[in-house]
Symmetry: C4
Subunit: 277 residues, 4 copies
Amino acid sequence: MSKTKPKSAWRHKLHEIIYEADTPSGKVFDVGILIVIVISIALVMLESVGHLNLKYYWEFYIAEWVITIIFTIEYILRIISIKKPKHYIFSFYGIVDLLSTLPTYIVFIFGGHNLLFAVRALRLLRIFRILKVTRYIGESNRLKNALKSSGPKITVFLFAVIIICIIAGTLMHLIEGEAGGFDNIPVSIYWSIVTLTTVGFGDIHPITPLGQFIASFIMIVGYGIIAVPTGIVSSEFTKSEKDSIPKNTQACRFCNETEHLDDAEFCHNCGRRLDEK
Amino acid sequence: MSKTKPKSAWRHKLHEIIYEADTPSGKVFDVGILIVIVISIALVMLESVGHLNLKYYWEFYIAEWVITIIFTIEYILRIISIKKPKHYIFSFYGIVDLLSTLPTYIVFIFGGHNLLFAVRALRLLRIFRILKVTRYIGESNRLKNALKSSGPKITVFLFAVIIICIIAGTLMHLIEGEAGGFDNIPVSIYWSIVTLTTVGFGDIHPITPLGQFIASFIMIVGYGIIAVPTGIVSSEFTKSEKDSIPKNTQACRFCNETEHLDDAEFCHNCGRRLDEK
Amino acid sequence: MSKTKPKSAWRHKLHEIIYEADTPSGKVFDVGILIVIVISIALVMLESVGHLNLKYYWEFYIAEWVITIIFTIEYILRIISIKKPKHYIFSFYGIVDLLSTLPTYIVFIFGGHNLLFAVRALRLLRIFRILKVTRYIGESNRLKNALKSSGPKITVFLFAVIIICIIAGTLMHLIEGEAGGFDNIPVSIYWSIVTLTTVGFGDIHPITPLGQFIASFIMIVGYGIIAVPTGIVSSEFTKSEKDSIPKNTQACRFCNETEHLDDAEFCHNCGRRLDEK
Amino acid sequence: MSKTKPKSAWRHKLHEIIYEADTPSGKVFDVGILIVIVISIALVMLESVGHLNLKYYWEFYIAEWVITIIFTIEYILRIISIKKPKHYIFSFYGIVDLLSTLPTYIVFIFGGHNLLFAVRALRLLRIFRILKVTRYIGESNRLKNALKSSGPKITVFLFAVIIICIIAGTLMHLIEGEAGGFDNIPVSIYWSIVTLTTVGFGDIHPITPLGQFIASFIMIVGYGIIAVPTGIVSSEFTKSEKDSIPKNTQACRFCNETEHLDDAEFCHNCGRRLDEK
């Protein structure tokens, strides 16, 4: 049945550990990688704090290299354990894994203090690695489905919110003028969004009576229409409660597709056996 | 059956393209106009940013004329393609279309830098042109219906919110006095609305212990009663989910009424055939 | 059947006009009084604005007297048209009507610029007169019922919110100390309420990293638990949708009880005929 | 049936008064203790206000001792009335009771103005004593159940919120740089949480156009996804409405377990009779 034959049993075993979370060793690998990811994110964060970076420069430097080497090993293992490495390399997670590992090597080779900005930005991509782990949480799938099905309505609602904000922002720019901080229309629209979403920084605020009256109106509208997305999602949730199909964490070794049903024997994407040796 | 006979087939064709979105050319026209509207709005916004206006004065000037001419052509086409032009000219969109096109000509003829304010205000009316396109989105109709049916309750709720804000505002004016920024009752009511809707700019805030106590009370009330509009809309949404009638985008050539049922043959407004040639 | 006999037909007629809103003249009276109330409130508000009061002193003075005389006439009519005046005089609205009418006379007799504060406070009681009109709005009754039945749960929730705020406030006082504006525990609790209810004035805000961490935690809690009152009211609303009994605006001439069913012939409070002459 | 025999009837009576709220004397005890707790909390709060502490130093001192003695007596009574004192002493409430009573004695013995901070922190633990009383409120149990069953989903949601905040925070740090107050990544994440939860202090806010654009996006996301926890809790509440089992306030004298069903004769925790003498 199988078209491509696995070269060795250990590669199959490796694939199970790295890409799946059903076996004990698979779980240990996942939890281990999760811990390394969290540490690496905390590291990048703390490095950005000036006085900490001065004080613990060498500690950060060494920790950075340890993490980079762990991520490099993980990247290589992921490539050699999968049958069609391209499926992984050009997937979203493959690119994230590569881009968030490279910076340390680039700085080591090119010196790179003049491209510090880009390097830091790349290193922060590690945060997306966390998403790899979230797909194993059943609740998150149900949340995702409820959001996905209420998506079009929410989009229309947010579209309406943005139109209201554009109208309100231009109105406020005409009323308040440049004295009250409503210097131009884009900044007034920014203020409208800050106000309608009930955030209210206070960096810009109306000072004329008419401006305050219009602002009051915008706030009451914002307070009143927050009910709309809530109503949408509420009714969506009540529906999605009923039909939630249990899934497991098996991943196809050929196309890397996850989200197979518990009793699935063949990949629902490429049709090959999920458990063939 | 038909009382007024169309003078030519091309006028009927033109009406279908401009006022409806069922045919491919009708869709192309709508998407084209939508793009021009979005560009024209972006233009008015960016023009209001002082340093951009100085730098790209001529680019803005030329773009403005191109858009004005497109809108003028659209306006003329809309008038000649409809049987009873008055229905369009004196409709909300007809007035918006006219008023948002005129300013460029006025400035060209009268010089008009001294009436810049009014001209800019008129030009911004273009934002309302976007609403013309929204009626074709099915979801937005359902949102509109849910809001319309929960309207009276929301109104009563917002009426109650305003009364609470008036009482709270006057109370805060009496307690805080003019020191804390609560100079007069209108401004104190403005502060109450800012606080109850959980916006909280911070431009005005209580400084006396009693004022802070009353403010805490207002905030907790605002936090507690936000549930009321949500509850109203939620129950409204669950109802409206069930009965949503599919509508199409045909528009009557005599009275310009839209929102006809899919199998409608006569305009439900003026009674004439929708498809007569 | 009737125990107390009305002395004249006009008194009965007057009662119908003033206390009920079923007849055309009753509606005219209600709308008229509503307009006078709104004007009187607007007047007190505008008087509090310093520069307006200086400019339009005499206009305000005359308007004040006109409104006071209208309210005095209304008060007298209410007393003579009802059978048992005590029911009105010692009711909430009777006391509000009296207290909000008196100040103008007091100032006229005693001079009273030294008791301006109390006078203004009393005059503002007029805002409560608006509530008299709200009881005729059917939707407001349904809102009131939904709020009343979800009252105990909302109370327990707000009680929990206050306990969280007390704990969070004291914690922030210990962490931030007096440098960050968290001078004492009451003011820190005030800050906690401002933060948890997502108002966020910004007059006080944490500056230490630990304080900002705890603040982030409080904000996320506040963002997460706002769902609780909403959930309570939502489920309450779905229930109250079903059982809403239509009521009319007849008022008993003996005990002044309102909220009778449409086909009620006897007062459900004192048992006398509602329509006896 | 009973394995351990009560030594005296008064101890059994005492247990009923202190640990249960079914008998009149039990209710009187609970309300009395509740009042003392509220007074003691108010006292610690007011003591933290500098000028009040200077003015009413002796009044605070005496009140502190009166409350400490009452709490000491309560603590001793709780220990001698229960069969297995260890169950109480090492329970959460037992530790809270002890720690919040000790500070006054410690200051009296050791002088302790140099450990004022720790003492005040311990004394504030009294707030947790209030929770002892809340378990008797039926509504609070239903609230707790609804929150408990929607807990996992809320956790996943808040986890997603935190990831969004980390990504948004790092992005804002890269865009705004150190000029706009986004000095380092942790502080930028703090700002993201302040913004996404719609609190919006305004201590930090974007000043570059791109930063304001991203901020607008974060705010609209925060405004849109607040619907998610609400939808979760709403659907949970509708469910929990149906199945609420009435409970009473009996407490087992052996293991101190509460929350027994009304007709329970044996403790569901340790299996002994609830009413044995």
